[in-house]
Symmetry: C2
Subunit: 359 residues, 2 copies
């Protein structure tokens, strides 16, 4: 894990036009002037960390990533807080998870402190790209992929780590709105023993088909069930999921096939701090449908970096529609949303030291 | 599916040195002078089919393939037959499977006849690269990947299809040798409802970890069990698998999580033609271990484009070593190997029209 600690700067001589103040900033479509790049070579380790102008790069047609999908990524956000300081939310957790994903995919570990400092250096350089309307942020995407030109199925001997930045608009345009979710009964996202707990490309490619079917039927995302019995709840699209039944909060336990979300972790820590009963355990779709029929399913919500908290207004399973909390945001969902986004923007105190300044 | 049918040629002005006649031609490391490229744009369809010099190409850092793994591929071989003609083995089957993989990954279909003709045109142009020692061939790798720069998880609106060629040495250096295979009891390759029956990158990335563990223990590949009960046999690394028990041949049925191998299909067709009983059904690892203990497991072999037939000399499962046919190639395995490679090289008659000339 030798890491050359000095980051060379090759800054752009032709900065791009920034989006207009009222640009809706559609997610993941606009990129800033610079990117961070670092290469890995077997025997040498990670080398040549540098900041360059954002631009297409050369890849060999036989690069392992194109054929055998050795690639991992992370997603986090930088915010301008109330005092116009640039802050991150628990970024060390993203660095840790990226290294865990690396391990599952037989990819080389990196120095988490160093890459976090590089990430901050990049954001500082492009900080004029951070939008400052309510709810906007700078989406940060670190990713690593296999570059060796080799058609044998084996871990690559060379890799590239990149960080790119994208200004994004508010997730909710008009207040926090509940979503309709279809429970997936045919396709499977991940199995225990597979790659589900890693943030790796194949999990997302495989999920697109079910998502396409659900969208065609008017649902915004898919709730995945387990690969074994098609009975236990896993997670939603790019979110973990929580249910409030009879005052108790339940979320599927980390069984090896779901992603360990950082928002999930934060929600659990808040609930414990608030003395609200929270249990991580197996939870079946039947239990949820029954609780709804019995009137004890009080709230359901997804958690993830993009939406923070996404209340679920309707679940569709096996021909049955289950409306939750009259398709309105629940009290607890709202409190969690306001607390976490409040901490992120500096409106609410941060007793947990979750917020990390960039400068 | 509009396809511009005329393939432009941009031939290299600097042909590379070809490998020496005695080069071992390590699999997937040497590439010929040219490649075929075609692009896809939503609304327009596939366009600009062309043959270009083999070289790295520009990819946007936000290209969907790097983040969400939308990519599929195929693998087949071109051979110089006894009469020094260039032939392919059942290439229409690879085209069909590539389109089936596309469908699972929400990627656009292509015109199979047209891409097969492009593949032949490319091979013809680079035919001096085809090695002609016994057992050598030209490996052909068609692949398609998502190129749109977009960080939302959704099917790409643009794709690229490429075909690259690589001269490869004989799979067996000194006669057909049995391999030792470890039965995988922790990791899972694919689940029913997942992407196992598609030839897509994520399946291979996820499989590397188990392969690494098996190799460290002296096994050359992993035999996968099903995701549900961890009991039924799926396939081996990049091969389907067959067992001969008491004179009857058994192979796992196409349950949705294993790849529909073209060698598998050919073996089944040969066995039927030879009046040898062949059954496609669920087969548990316990059944195989028991047959071995009872002395009724006569042969076991993998099938795939790379090795054609790969006899299994030893299975390791749950602490128990199971030696098969005294670690020697079985009579049927040998007959299948000689028939299929014989048909490919023109030494054996081809009553099935499996062999397709390139010119
Ligand atoms: C599959 C999946 N599950 C859950 C999450 C939520 O994780 P986090 O809260 O860290 O954003 C994500 C990503 O953001 C995801 O991609
Ligand atoms: C996972 C997997 N199974 C089986 C096979 C065998 O298929 P085929 O006989 O078409 O080469 C392959 C590839 O070649 C493969 O990648």
């Amino acid at each position: 894990m030798s890491t050359e600690k000095h980051i060379l700067h090759y800054e752009t001589s032709a900065p791009k036009d920034k989006p207009a103040a009222d640009d809706p900033l559609a997610f993941g479509t606009i990129f800033t002037d610079h990117m961070f790049v670092m290469d890995y070579t077997d025997g040498t380790g990670w080398h040549d960390p540098r900041i360059e102008p954002y631009k297409p790069f050369l890849l060999d047609p036989a690069a392992i990533v194109l054929h055998y999908g050795q690639t991992v990524f992370e997603g986090l956000k930088a915010y301008l807080n109330e005092d116009k300081e640039v802050v991150l939310f628990r970024p060390e957790e993203n660095m840790k998870r990226l290294n865990r994903s690396n391990d599952r995919l037989c990819m080389p570990m990196f120095d988490e402190k160093f890459v976090l400092s590089a990430l901050k250096e990049l954001i500082s350089l492009d900080k004029d790209w951070i939008p400052d309307r309510e709810g906007t942020s700078l989406y940060v995407r670190p990713f690593i992929f296999a570059t060796q030109p080799y058609l044998g199925v084996a871990p690559s001997k060379t890799y590239r780590l990149m960080i790119i930045l994208s200004p994004v608009g508010p997730y909710y345009k008009e207040g926090v709105n509940p979503v309709k979710i279809a429970v997936e009964s045919q396709y499977v996202r991940a199995a225990v023993g597979g790659t589900g707990s890693a943030k790796t490309a194949g999990n997302y490619a495989g999920a697109m088909k079910a998502q396409e079917v659900a969208e065609a039927e008017g649902y915004s995302q898919v709730l995945w069930l387990d690969a074994k019995e098609h009975r236990y709840i896993e997670e939603v699209g790019a979110m973990n999921v929580f249910f409030k039944i009879n005052g108790e909060i339940i979320t599927p336990s980390l069984n090896g096939s779901i992603l360990e979300g950082i928002t999930r972790k934060s929600v659990i820590e808040l609930l414990i701090d608030w003395d609200i009963p929270i249990t991580e355990r197996k939870v079946s779709i039947d239990e949820i449908m029954e609780a709804n029929r019995a009137g004890t399913l009080e709230e359901a919500f997804g958690t993830g970096t993009a939406a923070v908290i996404s209340p679920i207004g309707e679940l569709f399973y096996d021909g049955e529609k289950c409306e939750i909390n009259h398709n309105e945001i629940g009290e607890l969902s709202l409190k969690l949303y306001e607390t976490i986004t409040g901490i992120q923007t500096g409106k609410v105190e941060d007793p947990y030291n979750w917020v990390v300044p960039v400068d």
